[in-house]
């Protein structure tokens, strides 16, 4: 099998590989053990060659320019954390204009990333070591000051594009994770850096991103009940959702088009899911009819047509799926009668194939996934208490809360390799939500 992936076009690559359309099939047959990142657009096949079943090796060269050291560290770390390439260290310690293909081949590299940082742009050249040629090149606009949040985001966006060139799948570095710490909403870059609070300490819970990344919604305690706040990160204004005044309003989530917010509203006869316009004062519309039970933690299918949620309607919290109009309610997770275990906290993967959730087993939560097609389940954690998973845009990485280090922190898991890393440090962190991509390369 070959690694068939999509890449952006470059004139150079097209020039060198043009005419290989007819040869492509034969080439794949001949080099059966060679993976190929390729672009099928316009019938032109170009690509970086590497062995299938093995991650391509990449050397990131030191970067010339003000902030070059930071930029180099970010690119190298992002590519490593993406889990799709092997970052090879031990290359030259100083920036160089020349690329010694023979040396990098010896180091096991398939690609070399060479960059130059100017005041307003990052110039990136990706070399194909096997082909001994320039494979891709692009200028990424960098307007923000070195080390600022926007500057970091620009570096992350470059990393994600490089990962796209190397593997055919964009990285998820230019994303952030929102979470709860000390009663406030905090945000951290996907690489674990630049953690900072964005909300006041309002007893915040359940932060969630709008698809564009401009808004964060979360619940906040007030003396008269729990409200949903919608914070505009561009101008830091906060508005309170009044679609269902009073009582409990919690666990908000935006629809994939960003035009609807769905949340759990509880009054004196149970808690049900409601839908509302996040930017108007119109009344909310009831979705679930729980008849006095608890229905909460909604998550949208990527097409926006269905919602998975937690319900205790059978006397036992389990994951259910409903159409957005409240019809076609279906139990998703298998139900064991009479025990004290339960399932909660669903998050639908952006590719639509899986729902991650927490399963309370023997008094401890563990992170699991269930397939939408065959309903097969897989458990990913066993060390300590692990809960509230949230998918990265690549449907491959999950951020979740774990107490395995002794205090609740956020951890990131690659569901394909099982590689796990700690994302947050310091005081307790929980209830993570992974954003969609916040910036794409030009």
């Amino acid at each position: 099998m070959t690694t068939s992936v999509h890449c952006s076009r470059t004139r150079r690559g097209i020039a060198r590989r043009a005419g290989s359309v007819l040869a492509a099939g034969a080439a794949l047959a001949v080099v059966a053990a060679v993976g190929r990142a390729q672009d099928t657009a316009r019938g032109v096949h170009i690509g970086l060659s590497y062995d299938t079943g093995r991650k391509p090796g990449v050397v990131v060269l030191p970067i010339l320019g003000v902030g070059g050291d930071s930029a180099h560290a970010i690119l190298e770390r992002d590519l490593d954390l993406g889990d799709r390439v092997t970052v090879i260290t031990g290359g030259p310690a100083a920036p160089s204009a020349d690329v010694n293909y023979a040396l990098y081949k010896q180091l096991g590299a398939n690609a070399v990333v060479q960059s130059f940082l100017a005041p307003t742009l990052l110039h990136v050249i990706v070399h194909d070591v096997g082909g001994r040629k320039i494979y891709q090149t692009r200028d990424f606009v960098v307007t923000a000051g070195v080390g600022s949040p926007d500057w970091r985001l620009a570096m992350h966006a470059a990393s994600d594009q490089i990962e796209q060139w190397l593997t055919g799948t964009a990285g998820v570095s230019a994303t952030r994770v929102a979470y709860v710490r000390d009663g406030a909403v905090w945000v951290v870059d996907a690489d674990g850096y630049a953690a900072h609070p964005v909300s006041a300490r309002v007893g915040a819970l359940s932060p969630t991103w709008s698809p564009s990344g401009r808004f964060l919604a979360y619940s906040a305690f007030t003396p008269r009940g729990t409200v949903i706040e919608i914070q505009d990160l561009q101008n830091n204004t906060v508005r309170t959702l009044v679609a269902t005044p009073g009582g409990l309003n919690s666990a908000p989530v935006f629809s994939p088009d960003g035009n609807t917010i769905v949340y759990a509203h509880g009054d004196e006869i149970g808690t049900d899911l409601f839908a509302a316009n996040p930017f108007s004062n119109d009344a909310g519309r009831r979705i679930t009819v729980g008849r006095g039970t608890d229905n909460t933690q909604p998550t949208f299918s990527p097409d926006g047509r269905q919602i998975a949620f937690t319900s205790g309607r059978s006397g036992h919290p389990e994951i259910y799926i409903t159409d957005v109009d409240g019809t076609n309610v279906d139990l998703l997770t298998p139900y064991e009668f009479g025990d004290q275990n339960y399932r909660s906290g669903p998050d639908w993967s952006p590719d639509g194939r899986l729902i991650a959730f927490s399963s309370l087993t023997g008094g401890l939560f563990q992170v699991m996934t269930i397939g939408l097609r065959d309903r097969s389940m897989k458990q990913f954690t066993s060390d300590g208490r692990n809960e509230d998973p949230s998918w990265a845009p690549d449907s491959r990485h999950l951020v979740f809360t774990s107490n395995r280090s002794g205090v609740k922190q956020l951890w990131v898991l690659d569901v394909e390799s099982g590689r796990t890393r700690q994302l947050t440090f310091g005081p307790e962190a929980r209830l993570a939500a992974w954003s969609r991509p916040l910036l794409r390369g030009p």
């Binding site: 819970l205 729990t226 009582g247 919690s250 759990a264 004196e268 808690t271 919290p317």
Partner: protein
């Protein structure tokens, strides 16, 4: 805090009055006439009157204090009854017979004090999910409110809120801590300064 605001000044005034009476004879230089003047029967009757007066003031102060104590005790008892916590089983919001008995004691006090408003806060143990527990706590608080309103208490006098597992009273991962944290807490939000006992 507010309940003391009214009790303490009264106690302080009573105590000061008693102390003032005690002290009057002790320094005694004020009426001192001539040092050599002999103490006659007149002086004895003055002393006796003074002692009577002191004793009378003492009795008044004592009875005042006893009344204050009685009132404080009655207030405290009523408040204890109103704020008496009720407990739940794991992942359940149903009221046990004991919960109902605890709530039954609150009803006469609520009836005797129409100005009394309360807030019921539902809480959960540390085991469940943060968000699901918010809904569960809401149902626990609502269960107590419904019981009280079913027994004639006006709905406008009872607010409910859920803190889920955000405000545990007991720390740790023991069955005892879990059991203590699955509760409804009752807080007086208005009309708690003076409380008549229930009939």
């Amino acid at each position: 805090m507010t309940r003391f605001a009214r009790v303490i000044p009264a106690l302080v005034v009573g105590t000061m009055a008693a102390a003032a009476c005690h002290k009057t004879p002790a320094p005694a230089p004020a009426p001192t006439p001539v040092a050599s003047a002999p103490a006659g029967p007149n002086q004895d009757s003055i002393d006796a009157a003074r002692r009577d007066s002191i004793a009378r003031a003492q009795r008044i102060a004592d009875s005042l204090r006893a009344e204050q104590d009685r009132m404080a005790a009655a207030l405290a008892a009523a408040r204890n009854t109103i704020t008496q916590v009720i407990y739940f089983d794991f992942d359940k919001a149903a009221l046990s017979d004991q919960d109902k008995a605890t709530l039954d004691l609150k009803i006469p006090i609520l009836n005797a004090n129409p100005g009394l408003h309360i807030r019921v806060a539902g809480n959960c143990d540390a085991r469940g999910s943060d968000e699901y527990n918010l809904a569960l706590g809401q149902r626990r608080a609502a269960a107590a409110k419904r019981y009280l309103t079913d027994h004639g208490i006006d709905v406008s006098r009872i607010d409910v809120i859920s803190y889920g597992k955000e405000k545990p009273v007991a720390q740790g991962d023991t069955e005892e801590a879990y059991a203590q944290n699955r509760n409804d807490q009752f807080e007086i939000t208005a009309g708690g300064d003076t409380l008549k006992p229930g009939q």
